[in-house]
Symmetry: C2
Subunit: 344 residues, 2 copies
DNA sequence: CTGAAAGCGCTTACAG
DNA sequence: CTGAAAGCGCTTACAG
C-alpha cells in the first residue's frame, strides 16, 4: 500500500507538503497542491489512519458499549448513534455486552486500548471497574439509557414515569386490579426505575405491588418466559403482566401460549419499549415507546461536546404510552393527551 | 496515560524488555519479568493498540459491512461474527450500509483506512468500486450472505433452493395456485436467487410466475407494503405473497391489515428469513430459516484463514422451511423430512 | 511556501 | 538475558 513517502516522491515534494495538502493547510502553492493531488490519484493513496491517530493522539472514533444488540431497542439506539456520529465526523465501534458484566469489561478494555476518543455506555451492571476507572481518569464518557449513580458522567435517557402512570390508568380503567411486573436486573437503573414507577403509579390507585407480583428478569426473553410461568402458577395469578422490556414480553407471550391461554382474555400484557412487530403480534401489544433515535443522537452530541472540550450536559426525554389491544378493548377514550391511541 | 517508557523507568529496565514481557517473549529473566509486571500493575499501564498496530502492521481487527443492522437477520449475523472473531482473538468493527451503496462505500473506505486485517461483506449492490479494488489488491476478504459474481473471494452463504421447493410444495398442497413474490434488489444475489428458486419451484408444478406477480422491493418494510398494495390492486390478486426477507413481510402485513383483509383467509403470506416474532404474529408466519449463527461463524473462520495465510474456502449451508399458519391450515403432514412443522 | 527533523508508542533484528 | 537503535506512517513546530 502506497505511503505518504511514495506520494511525496511521485509529486517531487517533501512528505510535509503532502501532509499539508491532505489536511487542507492553507500555505501550499497551487502548483504543489496540484502535483500532490495528481500523485495521490495516480497511486490510489489513502492516508493510514493508524499512523495519523498515533501522531495526533485522536482517533475520531467513539466507542459504544450496549447491553444487548439483539434487543431491537439497542439496535435502533446503535443505529442512531452511528448516524449522528458520522454526521459529526466520527466513526463508532460497538461492543455488545450481551448483559454480561465480564463481556462489558472486555469491550471497555478493548475500546480504551484502541484509544477511542470517547465512550458511550449503557451499563450492564453497577459498574465495571475498568469503566469507573476510565471515568475517574477523565476519559470523555456519557451514559445512555442506563447509568451508574454516583459517577460524574452526563446521562442521556428517557423518563418513563408519566407513561407508566398513563399505562396504569389505562389498566385500571379496564378493570384490572392485580398487576404484576417482570423487572429487569436490580443492578441496572432501568431495572429499578421501572418497578419504582410502576409501584408509584399503582399507589395512586390504592393498589399494592406485592412481592410475588414482582418477577426478577434479566431483560432477556427466556427470563420473561420463566417469570410469567411463575405468575401463572400462583394461587391468584395477576390480571396483567407488565414486562420491563420487549424481549421479556416476547418470553411472556411464549409462556402464555404454551399454557394455551389467551391475551388479553386470560391475562393482559404490556411492555416497556415499543417495537414495530408489536403492531402485528396476536394481539397487538400495548407498550411504552421511548424516543430512541433522539436519545442516541443526543447522547452523541453530549459525548462529542466532551471530546471537543465543551460541557456536554445530561438530557432526559419523555416516553409515551401507545395503547393497543393486549390489555383488553378500551371503552371510549377518556385518557389524557399524552396517551396516544395507536391507529394501526 | 502511562506509556511503555514510564513502565520501563518504573521497573528499571529498557522498553525492549518491557515489550518482551508484555508479549510473552521467552528470553526475559524472572527478576526482570517480576519488576515489569509490578510496574505495569502500579501504573495501571495498558499498551497502546494504535502504536502496536502501526509497528506490526496488523490491527487484529476485522471489518464487517452489512446491508441493514435493523434487519434482525443481519443483527444476528453480526452478533455471531463478533462472537467467533472474539474467540479467535479479533475485534470487529461493523459498518451499516442501510442498503445504500454510497454508505457502503463510505464504510469500506473508513475500514480500509483503519487498516483492518480483513473484510467481511454482504454487498448492498453489484460492487462498490472501493471494495472491488480492495479485493483485487489482495485485502483478505470474504462475502457473507450476498456476494458479487466474478470476484475471486470466498462466499459463505446459505442455499434456500430446497427450502423454497418445500415451501411451494406446501402452498400447492394447500390449494394455492396464484403465487406472487416480493423480490429484493436485482443488484443483489439474494435478490435474484430467491426469485429464481421460486420460479423454478413453481415450474415443477406447472405454475407460471408472471411479471405482475413479481414485485420489486428493496428488502425494507416500506417496499413490502407498497408492493403488496400493488398486488391487492390487481384485477386478479395472488393467493399468496412470498416476501424475500422478513422486513418486507412486515410491510406486507401492514398493507393487508390496512385493507382490513385477513391472513391467510384472504391472502397467504410466507417469508424468507425466520425471526422469533413470527411465532407470535397474527397469524404465525411460515418462513424459511437460515442457519444464521453458523453462517457468521463460518464466514469469520474463512476470513481469519485468509488473514493468517491459510486458504479459506467458500461454504454453503442449507436453509429450511418452518411451517406455521400464515399460508392456511395444513392437512395431515405429507411433506418431506426437510420440512419441519413448527411446534409453537 | 517549503523541507529537515523530531516524535507519537510501540516491536524487533542486532550486538553484546 | 538485555539494551540501543531503527523504523512503522504520519503531523507539526522550526527555520529559512
Amino acid at each position: 500500500m502506497a505511503s505518504i513517502k511514495d506520494v511525496a516522491a511521485e509529486a517531487g515534494v517533501s512528505v510535509a507538503t503532502v501532509s499539508r495538502v491532505l489536511n487542507g493547510h492553507p500555505s501550499v502553492s497551487e502548483g504543489a497542491r496540484d502535483r500532490v493531488l495528481a500523485a495521490v490519484e495516480a497511486l490510489g493513496y489513502r492516508p493510514n489512519a493508524v499512523a495519523r491517530s498515533l501522531r495526533t493522539d485522536q482517533t475520531r472514533t467513539l466507542g459504544l458499549v450496549i447491553s444487548d444488540v439483539l434487543n431491537p431497542y439497542f439496535t435502533e439506539l446503535a443505529r442512531s448513534v452511528e448516524e449522528e456520529a458520522r454526521a459529526l465526523g466520527y466513526s463508532v465501534i460497538i461492543g455488545n455486552a450481551d448483559e454480561r458484566p465480564e463481556l462489558q469489561d472486555h469491550h471497555v478494555t478493548t475500546l480504551l486500548d484502541r484509544r477511542i476518543d470517547g465512550l458511550l455506555v449503557s451499563p450492564t451492571d453497577g459498574g465495571s471497574p475498568r469503566m469507573l476507572e476510565a471515568a475517574r481518569a477523565g476519559t470523555p464518557m456519557v451514559f445512555v439509557d442506563r447509568w451508574i449513580p454516583g459517577v460524574d458522567v452526563p446521562v442521556v435517557r428517557s423518563d418513563g414515569r408519566a407513561a407508566v402512570r398513563d399505562l396504569v390508568a389505562h389498566l385500571h380503567r379496564l378493570g384490572h386490579r392485580r398487576l404484576a411486573i417482570i423487572a429487569g436486573p436490580a443492578a441496572t437503573t432501568t431495572g429499578q426505575e421501572r418497578v419504582d414507577a410502576f409501584r408509584e403509579a399503582l399507589g395512586a390507585y390504592g393498589l399494592p405491588l406485592p412481592g410475588h407480583y414482582i418477577g426478577q428478569g434479566d431483560f432477556q426473553a427466556e427470563s420473561g418466559r420463566r417469570v410469567t410461568e411463575g405468575f401463572l402458577d400462583l394461587p391468584e395469578p395477576p390480571d396483567v403482566v407488565f414486562a420491563a422490556d420487549n424481549l421479556m414480553a416476547l418470553g411472556a407471550l411464549d409462556a402464555v401460549r404454551a399454557r394455551g391461554l389467551r391475551v388479553p382474555e386470560d391475562i393482559a400484557l404490556a411492555a416497556f419499549d415499543d417495537i414495530r412487530w408489536f403492531v402485528h403480534t396476536d394481539p397487538p401489544v400495548t407498550a411504552i415507546a421511548q424516543p430512541t433515535g433522539e436519545l442516541g443522537r443526543a447522547a452523541v452530541r453530549a459525548l462529542v461536546d466532551r471530546v471537543e472540550g465543551r460541557a456536554g450536559a445530561s438530557v432526559t426525554l419523555p416516553a409515551r404510552l401507545v395503547v393497543r389491544r393486549s390489555c383488553g378493548e378500551p371503552g371510549p377514550d377518556r385518557s389524557p393527551n399524552s396517551v396516544r391511541r395507536s391507529t394501526t
